[in-house]
């Protein structure tokens, strides 16, 4: 099984780099082959909202940049981990610059899920998603927004299952590790 960690931390964010290492080690121990992408290092253009990835170069953005690696790793993985400093309840700009470019992975055509409109699948299978947000201190509203955002992403990206949670910067490594294990247990892909 393959897993990719999309790391939305700023450069030299040691806390999040440490958390990324813990995630990576937990995933390896669970039998995943892990790839980590540090998005702050990647040259990724902003999405123009032109929809040419649906109607001109189907399935691929016209920008030939590092986002192609993000898209490839995302769709070819069994599990995608979205790791980010919680930013106003949502993702950091570093993570979002990569995620904005994954819309080429779905179809332009609509379908209904529980009476709500979504885009159909383009591929047969999509990765499970785990969202891990990092906060400096407890903030229930930020945590609520963050977990909702990850569930909305999972729904629109046709993830077979998902989980989301928040860890604190000053937490002990063992507590962070336990939280990550529990998020992995929730999605049910670990043997």
């Amino acid at each position: 099984m393959k897993a990719v960690i999309l790391n939305g931390a700023e450069k030299d964010d040691r806390d999040i780099d440490n958390i990324s290492t813990i995630i990576s080690s937990e995933l390896s121990d669970s039998g995943f082959e892990v790839q980590s992408l540090d998005l702050h290092e990647m040259k990724i253009a902003y999405c123009l909202g032109c929809f040419e990835c649906w109607t001109k170069t189907p399935g691929e953005c016209r920008h030939n940049d590092d986002a192609r690696e993000v898209v490839r790793q995302f769709i070819q993985s069994d599990l995608s981990v979205l790791l980010t400093p919680v930013t106003f309840g949502g993702y950091s700009s570093n993570l979002k610059k990569g995620l904005d470019r994954i819309i080429c992975l779905i179809s332009p055509f609509f379908m209904q899920i529980n009476g709500e409109t979504h885009h159909k699948k383009r591929y047969d299978s999509y990765p499970h998603i785990i969202g891990i947000g990092v906060l400096p201190e407890e903030d229930k509203e930020s945590e609520r927004i963050f977990t909702t955002l990850v569930s909305r992403n999972a729904l629109n990206a046709h993830a077979p299952s998902h989980s989301a949670g928040v860890v604190l910067r000053n937490q002990e490594s063992e507590t962070i590790r336990e939280n990550i294990r529990s998020l992995l247990d929730e999605i049910g892909v670990v043997q």
Binding site: L48, G59, V71, G90, S92, D100, E116, T117, R122, L149
Partner: protein, 225 residues
Amino acid sequence: MNQVKRILLLVGSAKQTISTSELIGTYLIERLQSNGYETETLFAHKLLKSNSWERLLSSTDRADIIVIAFPLFVDCLPYSVIKSLEQIAGHRQAKSELKEQTLVCLANCGFPEQHHNDTAIAICRQFAREAGFKWAGALSLGGGEAIGGQPLFKIKRTTKNVMKALDLTAEAIALGHPVPQEAIDSMAKPMVPKWIYLLMGGWGWKRRAKKNRVLKTILHRPYEG
């Protein structure tokens, strides 16, 4: 003598043609202009491209009201807007004193149901809290593609509820009030029936693909492992 009030519109769409975000944002600030406000419009993607954060920060400092008009990208704000908000929050959190400034958001999405915008609006509200703005509320528009790049007044039959929502919002915020519930409800009304929007949407994608000679490969999977 009263000091002139200033309003800053930050447009979150990077479309090369005129976007729904720009159209609804401009409509709102023009109503405020007629109430004596001075207006300024910035585009988040242009600030990002030219790294012009100082310009964003000085315009934000001068403004009494900030309006952020954006399209929904992957269930939240586009990258360029989040980057802009990070810059503004960092700048304001470093200040010891902040003048009272109001934040209003106009969210639009391509899905017919406007509630897809809820999480993005919650993020804007949280930004207001963290960056020390007075949160005046948001308008949420679904089926934004129905506007099709046309000025709102030119397609009144389609946009009458959108214009009503923006008129009510302009009146309220000019008086220092939050976005009224009547405006929120008016913006939430579908511009066209859902079944027509879905039918036209599917047809529109096929028409564009056919024009680009890729209709047969529209569901191509270049990243299949």
